[in-house]
Structure formats: structure tokens, C-alpha cells
Symmetry: C2
DNA sequence: CAGTGGTCTAGACCACCCA
DNA sequence: GGGTGGTCTAGACCACTGG
């Protein structure tokens, strides 16, 4: 068999990905089955082994295949598949919804790390940090409350920035690339301050996204985003 | 320069990934800068161009680099980076927390698709579906409420399964591989039924995860998971 | 149109690990 | 020990697009 030229999957590797995925979805190859090895598939598809290898690695990353040396390639039994989503930049998010973006810094001060933040950033309790609280708005309606801690030890230039004038989110994105990030979703009832800042009722369920980033000097920033009630976060397609 | 053999990054491509990422984090290459082309880097690192290509493609997928033919490779200006997380299997999640898993099917019946579900599954309103409501428990405490709609048109075998005996989550995972999935996070105040099933107060903020999957025959299933208050979902590292 | 990334190939050697 | 995937290479041709 050769690759069907069908409604193009573009590259040969991509076409093999789609063909193999289809065989799995159609249960032609069932969960747990061992599939032919790379050399056989290379002959079947009429391509080099490296091309088959690339395709199967993509499917393995997706979680559809399990690959082991000597044991061969098997269809995953419990395909606990992965989802990806893009970490949004608030301003772009607001503007892509057709609204005018603005933000307001509610508080900015130096402050020693409280226990919870220190643990999340893996810093000693009481480490000197900068604490910011910002409201992000679309068409002057509150959209998201940002509660951010920044570690000057990891980003020395931050000392001289006035975040009342520059959006912290974007300044950090441009000046402090990170190596590693943690991201957590949860839900909380709006407390009095959240409710006031978001212009909503106390007790309303809020989607909370917490993110901490690190570079080689340590934690850069830890931020807790509270979204306006009803907001949804969706994975990429 | 050749690759440092350092505290192994394993493969050459992976070492190049780490070296380039470090140059960006150290701001040796700044946002917007054009970096040397593949051929130059291949010489610098002492490897074949294909190896550099693989490394740079990984960094481009991560969102750190922008690559265009003829224009070359640039450091992304707004690195809206991606996060991935693994879609959990409830039972494994409970058991990995050291608790005994059990589940209870609260309701199972055939039911025409209500408007919201039909739209989410891209089916005509009123399409014949199977509706399941299940409570998942750890050590006999409610952990998650699952509200699931299954489309027999996409998974004919489902007609003969008794989900009181078999966990729907796992049965589907094993018998109905999917091609595409949607995933959405939001927060809602517990309604009376959620509160009763989760053994908590009405109004408590719940993290909601909604997922819909498709194969080539159409939507397979759409499920709405309500987590016990305080639950967090975290990305992979 | 020419420089750059995208992809493929044939071959090679290696690393792992099951039998 | 031997079969399998993991990776690399040198070279080639192509596709896109910026100058």
C-alpha cells in the first residue's frame, strides 16, 4: 500500500499519523495490540523508516501509542490523552472579544513573602517581594482580578518599573522569559474584596487560575487570576 | 563551539534545545531578535542541520521561537506559551491519593438531547442519547459528580452495556478512541442537586470541567464533571 | 529570485531490554 | 544475543516569501 493522496494531510509523516489514528479509531488496531514495527510500516507506506518514526513519535506523545525498545509499539490501553492550551495575555483576550482594554493598579508595595506564597515560589518565608493587585477591564467592566507577587532577585530590572504605567503581565512576558511554569485551576467563592473589585456579589463562584514561573535564578512571579463569573477557559484545538 | 557534555540533556537535539532556551532566558538573544540560521547553528554546534531543525521546531512549538521561511527564526515577542495537562481517569486519580475508589450510578436513561447538549455535541436537538449521572467516591466520600451524555450513533456497542456495573469513563476509554476533544474549565455555585450528591452546601464554588469527544461518526460523549470543593487541576511539568 | 525553513532519504550506529 | 526503537548524518529537493 502507498499513501492515499486524499484531502491532503500535507507531509508524508502527517498522513501516516492520520492513517494510523484512523486505524485505531476504527478499531482495526485495538487497545493493547502490537502494531507492525517501523521497518514494516516503512515498506507498507513506501517511505523511509525515519518518516514512520516521526509519525509514531507524534502519536506516542499524544498518548495513543506506547513505544518500547525491543517490545515494539502497542496501542495504549488507557489512552489518558493530553490537552494543551495557550496561556492567554489578558489584553489580547479582551481585545479579541471586541472590547476596549484598560487596567487599574489597585495596590503596589514591597512586602515580605507570606507563607503560602513563599511555599508556592519555593522561597524562604519573608523573602522581599513586590506585591501588585490589578483589575483588568473590558469596556470599563471588570474582567479579571490579578494578585501578583514578583521576586526582584530573579528579575533585578523590575525594581525600576512603575507598574501603574506598564502592564505587569506584558512587561514580564517581554523581559523575563521563564524556563518552567506551574498552572493550577480551582474554584472559590468570591470574598468581599473580589466581589468589590469584580463588581459582583460576594459568594459568587469564581474560576481561579494560579501560575508561577521560574528562571535559572529562581521564581520570577506567582500570580492568582480571578475571572469574572461565567468565564470559561478552553483548550486549543 | 561544540556541545558541552554537562549534566546530560541526553540527545544532541535536546542539548541544543536547552542551550538555546538558556540563551533566551539569559537574554543573550532578546525578544524580537533574529537568531542564526540552521546552517550556521549546525556548524556552531557541530551537528547536522536536521538535528538543529528538530531542536528549533521543539522550541517553536513551545512558543519561544517564531520560524518563517526566508525570514528566518526570531525570538517570540509575546511568548504566549503552551501548557499541557493529562486528562485524568477518575479511579486512578482517587487511588493515587491513597483512597479506595467506588462509584454509584444515580440515574441512567435514554433521553433526547436538550438544546445545550445538542449544541455542544453538534447534533440535532432531540437526538436520541443515553444520559448517565454518576457519583465518584474516595473512601466513600463524594469526590466528583459526572453528568454524561453518550451518543449511541457513534458507539453502537454502547447499547448493550450496563453502566451500573461498568464505569462509563473506563469503558469508553477502552472501546471508543476519539479523534478530537474539547475541554473547558469554569466555576459554578453548587445547585441543590450538586450539593446533595457531593455532600456539601448549596452555593459552594465548584470547579467544573466539561469535555466532549468525537470520532469519525460524530460526537461520542459529552461529560460535565463537578469536583468536590477545593479540588485543583494542575498542568504537567 | 534567492535565502531560509520543511521534509525526506538511505544508511548507520547505538541503547535498551526481553527472551 | 538479537530485535526494536532512538538518534544522527550528509545530502537532496521543495515551498514559501521577503527583498
Amino acid at each position: 500500500m502507498t499513501l492515499k493522496s486524499g484531502p491532503p494531510g500535507n507531509s508524508k509523516a502527517q498522513m501516516i499519523v492520520e492513517d494510523v489514528r484512523r486505524r485505531i479509531v476504527d478499531r482495526e488496531w485495538q487497545q493493547g495490540d502490537r502494531i507492525p514495527d517501523e521497518a514494516e510500516l516503512a515498506v507498507e507506506f513506501g517511505v523511509a523508516r525515519a518518516t514512520v518514526n516521526k509519525a509514531l513519535q507524534i502519536l506516542a506523545e499524544e498518548g495513543l501509542l506506547d513505544r518500547k525498545r525491543r517490545a515494539g509499539t502497542h496501542v495504549t490501553v488507557n489512552p489518558a490523552r493530553k490537552a494543551t492550551f495557550t496561556i492567554p495575555i489578558v489584553r489580547e483576550q479582551v481585545e479579541s472579544a471586541g472590547m476596549a482594554y484598560s487596567h487599574r493598579v489597585v495596590a503596589q508595595k514591597r512586602s515580605p513573602a507570606p507563607p503560602e506564597i513563599a511555599s508556592r515560589m519555593r522561597l524562604p518565608e519573608g523573602a522581599p517581594l513586590i506585591h501588585l493587585r490589578t483589575v483588568h477591564m473590558g469596556d470599563d467592566q471588570p474582567f479579571q482580578v490579578e494578585d501578583r507577587w514578583i521576586n526582584p532577585a530573579a528579575v533585578p530590572e523590575v525594581e525600576s518599573v512603575d507598574f501603574r504605567q506598564v502592564n505587569a503581565n506584558e512587561w514580564l512576558v517581554r523581559h523575563a522569559p521563564y524556563l518552567r511554569a506551574d498552572l493550577t485551576f480551582s474554584a472559590e467563592n468570591a470574598n468581599a474584596r473580589d466581589a468589590r473589585l469584580l463588581d459582583t456579589r460576594q459568594g459568587h463562584a469564581l474560576l481561579i487560575m494560579q501560575r508561577t514561573t521560574w528562571n535559572d535564578l529562581g521564581a520570577i512571579t506567582s500570580v492568582r487570576l480571578s475571572f469574572y463569573p461565567g468565564h470559561m477557559v478552553t483548550t486549543d484545538h
